[in-house]
C-alpha cells in the first residue's frame, strides 16, 4: 500500500509555490481553485520530493450547489499517494482545466466525466462522449437527471 500524505503538509508546500489556490484542507486531501488546478497538478508532478507520476482515477461528484472533481494521485517512486480536489460552481457550464498534457491516462477519464456528469475539461484534445452515443441528451449521473 502507498502512504497517504497529510493534507496539511501538502497545503503548506503548495502555498509556498503557488499562493492563494488551496481553499480546503482535510486529513489526506486538499481542495484547490479550478483556475489554479493545472499549476498545482504540474507542481505535484514535477517537484522532486513529491513526484506524483501516476493518475489513478478521476471522479466527479454532484453536490447540487457545485460540482467537485477528485483526482487520485500516486507516486511510484516515493510510494505515496494523495487526493486532489477541485470545485466548479457554475452549474450551466462547469469547466475545469484538463490535465491530459501531464498524465496521458487522464484522456479517457476526463471524457467519461464529460459524458456522464457534463463537466468540460478545457484543453482536452478530443473531448467527446465515450460511453454513450453521439446525440444522447443530458448527462445521466447528474442528480437532477430525469
Amino acid at each position: 500500500m502507498t502512504v497517504a500524505l497529510s493534507g496539511k503538509d501538502l497545503a503548506t508546500k503548495i502555498d509556498k509555490a503557488i499562493s492563494q489556490t488551496v481553499i480546503g484542507i482535510a486529513d489526506n486531501s486538499i481542495t484547490v481553485k479550478s483556475q489554479g488546478l493545472f499549476q498545482v497538478a504540474k507542481f505535484l508532478k514535477e517537484t522532486p520530493e513529491l513526484e506524483f507520476d501516476l493518475l489513478v482515477n478521476i471522479s466527479g461528484v454532484d453536490y447540487m450547489d457545485y460540482f467537485e472533481v477528485v483526482y487520485h494521485l500516486v507516486s511510484l517512486k516515493h510510494n505515496h499517494s494523495m487526493v486532489l480536489k477541485t470545485v466548479c460552481l457554475d452549474r450551466d457550464n462547469p469547466a475545469v482545466p484538463s490535465v491530459v498534457s501531464l498524465w496521458r491516462g487522464a484522456d479517457f477519464l476526463e471524457r467519461e466525466e464529460y459524458d456522464l456528469i457534463g463537466i468540460r475539461f478545457e484543453g482536452h484534445p478530443n473531448l467527446k462522449r465515450i460511453y454513450l452515443w453521439d446525440g444522447f441528451k443530458g448527462h445521466p449521473l447528474r442528480r437532477d437527471y430525469l
Binding site: Y131, L132, W133, F136, P140, Y145, L146
Partner: protein, 201 residues
C-alpha cells in the same frame, strides 16, 4: 358346512401322454420350419433394401435442423459465463449437436443473447442477427435480455432484446443456471420439431 368332494388323481398317470403330444407338436413345427418365411421386401434390390426408410419431408428436415443448431459465439455480460459452462464438458451441449459455437454469424443458426443489451451495443447485435442465414432462432437468456431486468428504467439499456430482434425462447434467471438454458434449448428443439418445411420461392 359340507366340504366339496374332490377326486384326487395322480398327475403322473397322464404325464406320459402329455409329453408325447408335446413332442409331436414340436416335430410338426420343425418339419414346417424347413422352409423360411418370405421377406416382404424381397422384390427390392439389395442396396435399396438396406438404405430406405419412408417418412415425411418435415420429419427428416426438422430432425436435421434440431440436432445441428449451431450458436453464434458472442456474449454480452455475466450470463455468457453460464453459456460457456453449458458448452463445457459438465453440461455438454455437444450431446445435442450444438458444440460448434461459430464465430461467424453466417455459419450460425441460433443467437443466444446472453446478458444486458445496451443501446450502444444494439446496432451490432441487430447486424449479427441480420447476417445469420435463414432459418434462424433467438434465445433471450437472463432477465436483462428478457425485459431489461433491474436496468429496465435505465438511460442506457434496451428494455428487452425483443425490441431489436424477434425472440423464440425466453430463459429467465439472473443469471439462469446452465441447466436452465439447457431446458430452454430443449424447448427450442420442440419448437423446431413443429416447423413446416417451406422451400424458398
Amino acid at each position: 358346512m359340507e366340504i366339496a368332494s374332490f377326486e384326487w388323481k395322480n398327475p403322473l398317470e397322464k404325464s406320459a401322454e402329455l409329453d408325447k403330444a408335446e413332442g409331436q407338436t414340436i416335430e410338426q413345427i420343425r418339419t414346417m420350419a424347413q422352409q423360411k418365411c418370405q421377406d416382404p421386401d424381397q422384390w427390392l434390390d439389395r442396396d435399396l433394401k438396406h438404405n430406405v426408410i419412408v417418412t415425411s419431408i418435415d420429419a427428416v428436415i426438422n430432425l436435421g435442423r434440431r440436432y445441428s443448431v449451431w450458436p453464434v459465439n458472442f456474449g454480452l455480460a455475466c450470463c455468457a459465463f453460464e453459456m460457456i459452462a453449458l458448452a463445457a464438458p459438465r453440461f455438454d451441449i455437444s450431446r445435442f449437436g450444438m458444440e460448434l459455437f461459430r464465430s461467424s454469424p453466417r455459419q450460425a443458426d441460433l443467437m443466444i443473447v446472453a446478458g444486458t443489451l445496451t443501446w450502444k451495443m444494439a446496432p451490432q447485435v441487430k447486424r449479427i442477427y441480420e447476417q445469420m442465414p435463414e432459418p434462424k432462432w433467438v434465445i433471450a437468456m437472463g432477465v436483462c435480455a428478457i425485459s431489461g431486468g433491474t436496468f429496465a428504467e435505465s438511460y442506457s439499456v434496451v428494455p428487452g432484446v425483443n425490441c431489436i430482434v424477434p425472440v423464440d425462447v425466453y430463459v429467465p434467471g439472473c443469471p439462469p443456471r446452465a441447466d436452465a438454458l439447457l431446458y430452454g434449448i430443449t424447448r427450442l428443439h420442440d419448437k423446431i420439431k413443429k416447423d413446416t418445411f417451406r422451400p424458398l420461392k
